[in-house]
């Protein structure tokens, strides 16, 4: 397969994964968690690059460690809800920068870790994305009803005798795995763009909650491929082009919602009123 075909395949898989992981992150309001995690996993990649092992493995292990730290820190009483994510974010970047500065002749380009390079994804990266996609589909299918129940009525969920931690674990696990596999293609900073933006856009325009995941997947694949095409056509950094394309989709959804709630709604009402009088 050519580099471009591999990149297109990886972006398509990530777009589909965004349908599940992105929806979970957006609906359960874990965006800052996902952003902090993806940023802070950067030193994991640097460490494994220095040691000469697989980058993805290093980032996955480091992400697991960070999730543990964040879970512990979020239990510290007397501080805001976002502090744990903020501290982990600072830790990750500083550690990554320190390690980079200690190893000036690093084999891996640092900017590739940060902003990604879709055209250099390997078959192993694609396989990892596919595995995470299939696993997320299976787990979400099994837990879907409980996740929905807990998201929209946590008190009722507890009263019905369910335990909250399996749901939290499923959500955090899927979100973290998605962030990690997105990294080789779109990097530590923009990795969340392809996951969150299509789902946030889908949430704005979907008529019902069950429409959000498929809509997010379609928007994610379309905007990812559009970004990839634009990067080749106009000679732009591919990670940045994909991030920009997903943002444009979100802005379009925002405008569509404004129109649908405003002028279009009014036109419909006028038409209805005329039909009623006729």
């Amino acid at each position: 397969m050519s580099y471009f075909a591999m990149a297109a395949l990886e972006v398509t898989l990530l777009g589909l994964l965004g349908g599940i992981a992105g929806t979970l992150i957006v609906v359960r309001r874990r965006s800052f968690f996902a952003v902090a995690l993806s940023h802070a996993t950067f030193p994991g990649g640097v460490i494994f690059a220095v040691l000469g092992y697989n980058l993805l493995l290093g980032q996955a292990l480091f992400a697991a460690l960070l999730v543990l730290i964040m879970t512990l820190l979020s239990r510290v009483p007397g501080q805001g809800r976002q502090v744990a994510s903020g501290v982990v974010l600072a830790l990750g970047f500083a550690l990554g920068t320190l390690l980079t500065s200690l190893n000036p002749g690093l084999g891996v380009p640092v900017e590739a870790l940060l902003v990604g390079s879709p055209l250099s994804v390997s078959a192993a990266d694609i396989a990892a994305t596919a595995v995470v996609l299939v696993a997320s589909l299976i787990v979400t299918a099994y837990f879907a009803r409980r996740v929905l129940f807990h998201t929209f009525d946590p008190v009722g969920f507890a009263a019905a005798g369910f335990r909250a931690w399996p749901v939290e674990l499923v959500v955090v696990g899927i979100a973290s795995a998605a962030v990690v596999v997105a990294m080789p293609a779109v990097g530590a900073i923009l990795g969340v763009a392809i996951l969150i933006a299509p789902a946030a856009a889908a949430r704005l325009i979907a008529p019902r909650i069950e429409w959000v995941p498929p809509l997010a997947a379609v928007l994610g694949v379309a905007s990812g491929l559009a970004g990839l095409w634009a990067s080749r056509q106009f000679d732009l950094a591919a990670g940045g082009a994909i991030g920009l394309a997903t943002t444009l989709v979100f802005i379009a959804a925002l405008l569509w919602r404004r129109l649908a709630r405003g002028p279009i709604q009014r036109v419909k009402e006028v038409v209805k009123a005329k039909e009623a009088t006729a």
Binding site: R29, V76, Q82, G86, A94, T97, A193, L236, G240
Partner: protein, 287 residues
């Protein structure tokens, strides 16, 4: 060779680096109060990313002299965008902030990729250069930080009212949007002040961690800001000194900015541990 902190500070570049840290510590302590009370950590992270395209555009237009104006314009624009996004509230506001953050950063990456020397320039903007802050840059940092602190001092009382009693604040007839915009502008200016020295990646630590440490150490409102200034000042001095010592003794090239931030995070973890011990003692004494 053993060098004390005072001797190291007699070197002009070390003195400038320490002065930068001191100015940023004061500004971060004052503005951090607003960020912490209003839970704006994520919004401030958004502003940090949003400054990036401003830096790229500024550098493209005016070279290194264009960095600051570009950053100020981008940061203030981002302050307005993120305040409006955050105000919408509801389930979607944090996702909207995440999209704005990645979108603006993507714009910066795309713009920088169209230029010559892409990788080197990107690294400089991302990682900062604490030790090569020029005296002109230091004056810029002082000016921008002073405006940020000034905004907080002028609006301080209304900010506190808004943070502790939002309903009463509106009932008395204050404008929430105006107060929110003032706080966002102060945050944006602090980001601008810190970004050249610490880089896009690490300035977020300055916005969130000092006040997080301070709130763990004390519950008295009057002590929050002094503690939040003292902590980065101490870790900043220590970080600078260590990176200097390591570079002359062991010939290691340590990023001083990264060391300062790591020490700041260490101070936070230490404060968490101290608080747990203190609470145990308190509950044991009460029993």
């Amino acid at each position: 060779m053993e060098v004390t902190l005072l001797e190291a500070l007699q070197l002009p570049f070390m003195a400038r680096a320490f002065a930068t840290i001191a100015v940023l510590a004061v500004a971060a302590g004052v503005v951090g109060l607003g960020i912490s009370f209003r839970e704006m950590e994520f919004v401030s992270d958004g502003m940090v990313h949003a400054v990036f395209p401003g830096l790229v555009i500024g550098a493209a237009i005016g070279g290194s002299a264009g960095l600051l104006p570009g950053a100020v314009v981008a940061a203030l624009a981002a302050a307005v965008i993120f305040t409006l996004l955050d105000r919408r509230g509801g389930a979607g506001s944090d996702a909207a902030i995440a999209v704005g953050l990645t979108g603006l950063f993507s714009l910066g990456v795309v713009l920088v990729s169209k230029q010559q020397g892409y990788a080197a320039q990107l690294q400089d903007l991302l990682f900062g250069h604490l030790l090569t802050v020029t005296s002109a840059q230091l004056w810029q940092i002082i000016a921008v930080a002073a405006i940020a602190v000034g905004i907080m001092l002028v609006t301080g009382r209304t900010q506190l009212f808004r943070a502790f009693d939002p309903a009463g604040f509106e009932a008395v007839g204050f404008h929430p949007l105006r107060t929110d915009l003032a706080l966002a502008a102060a945050t944006a200016l602090l980001v601008v002040a810190g970004v050249q020295a610490l880089g896009v990646l690490m300035v977020v630590a300055l916005l969130t961690v000092p006040m997080a440490v301070s709130r763990l150490l004390t519950r008295r409102l009057g002590l929050l800001v002094p503690f939040a200034i003292a902590v980065p000042l101490a870790t900043g001095g220590l970080g600078l000194w260590w990176s200097f010592m390591w570079s002359i003794e062991r010939n290691l090239s340590v990023s001083p900015g990264a060391l300062v931030v790591l020490l700041l995070v260490a101070a936070y973890l230490f404060a968490v541990a101290a608080r747990f011990v203190w609470q145990r003692r308190g509950s044991a004494a009460a029993a």
